[in-house]
Symmetry: C2
Subunit: 233 residues, 2 copies
């Protein structure tokens, strides 16, 4: 089965490569950190492990219920990230859904990349040469449950792949995307979008909904202990 | 959250009522058994437990990889079921996905019903008075994975419910349904439909795709040991 989607976050079956999507907002924000010049983005297993890297000069970014946690330098906002000059800086992130989903993916394959609407076309291009071994698109979802926003983005990416064997979840994701080609309208009703608005971060929503705006694909370079280290590609 | 969908088979959170859908074919076939006059349909935990009821006068129905297992009286075909006169008979079923999904649902609520395209409207009507306590629509899927066919039927049912709080999975299921109002075209690309065709049962597909053709809702009446006993409503 060359293209599989995991619409509900869980450890995928062994796969040739995995694209992890938490469009609202961790994987969009990771792309934004690289757009802002960051050299590496580390995904931490939790908030304490993220804070532990502060002493080593990392910028510490993340969220709890959408907001910047105590002691963190930055939240999980792609708008905020894009406004910074992070040339040569390293960033460590810890979030509720996205960084956890990346850890699930990394158990199934060493080839992991981060996808979003911003880098949709670039992410599809990264997946394409790996189709022969099978690729998995993994939705981070929301607190272990299905997220409409991430499923939509899986479909947006998958719709660009050459027409191969697609599993049922991929067919469904593509139908979701094609049924509503306007990304903002498509993801606005999601629980993740409504949760953003509930904490006053509704301006991030049009920001994450920009499609094909970045050529950057964050790819897993290596593990450092419990951390996943992403570099731009 | 009054309406939730489980698009991937798993035990739902506690809920006021659950509708289980394995449209290709167990829950469609259960409706067909009642249409043919059956008094009760028992879901067995496995094939041996189904066969064990033969001595008590039950008709034993089910499938392994789509086909009638050794020693069973009937397969898992709604067309075959509908052609019988089962007045006053009891049927016991054991299948790969649907009967298992019903067991998951029965752990989350004693109020369980079986849904399909055939009884879509009747099933929605059964759910409606239970919305206040929260209802869950559960897709049986295929061997633990997402099934396009069942997700579509969840959307077909949910589209009839009054507009309440819908979780992301329900919103997605409704979009899937609305994107392709023709049920046969919608479910034909699913892995379950293709598996039917692969064992020569492709004629069952237009049969299961008949929408709103039956007023029968199989509802869980009681447990008998390891068996779930459904009666028509």
């Amino acid at each position: 089965m060359p293209v599989s989607c995991e619409l509900v976050p869980k450890e995928p079956r062994p796969t040739g490569a995995a694209l992890v999507v938490d469009v609202i907002r961790a994987t969009t924000t990771a792309v934004a950190f690289f757009e802002a010049g960051a050299g590496e983005v580390w995904f931490a297993p939790g908030h304490p492990e993220a804070l532990a890297l502060k002493a080593r000069g990392f910028l510490v970014a993340g969220e709890t219920r959408g907001l910047r946690p105590e002691g963190f330098d930055l939240g999980n906002s792609p708008r905020e990230a894009l406004a910074l000059d992070l040339s040569g800086r390293r960033v460590v992130m810890s979030t509720t859904n996205g960084t956890r989903a990346a850890r699930l993916a990394a158990r199934a394959t060493p080839r992991v990349a981060l996808g979003s609407l911003w880098n949709r076309r670039a992410a599809a291009r990264w997946l394409e040469p790996r189709l022969g071994e099978g690729v998995t698109l993994l939705a981070a979802g929301k607190e272990g449950r299905f997220g409409l926003d991430d499923a939509y983005v899986l479909g947006a990416v998958a719709s660009l792949l050459p027409d191969r064997d697609l599993d049922d979840a991929t067919l469904a994701a593509i139908r979701l995307f094609e049924a509503q080609p306007d990304p903002l309208a498509a993801i606005a009703p999601s629980a993740a979008a409504r949760a953003l608005a509930a904490v006053g971060l509704e301006d991030d929503l049009p920001a994450v909904a920009r499609m094909d705006a970045s050529p950057v694909v964050p790819v897993l370079d290596r593990r450092e202990g419990e951390y996943l280290v992403f570099v731009p590609r």
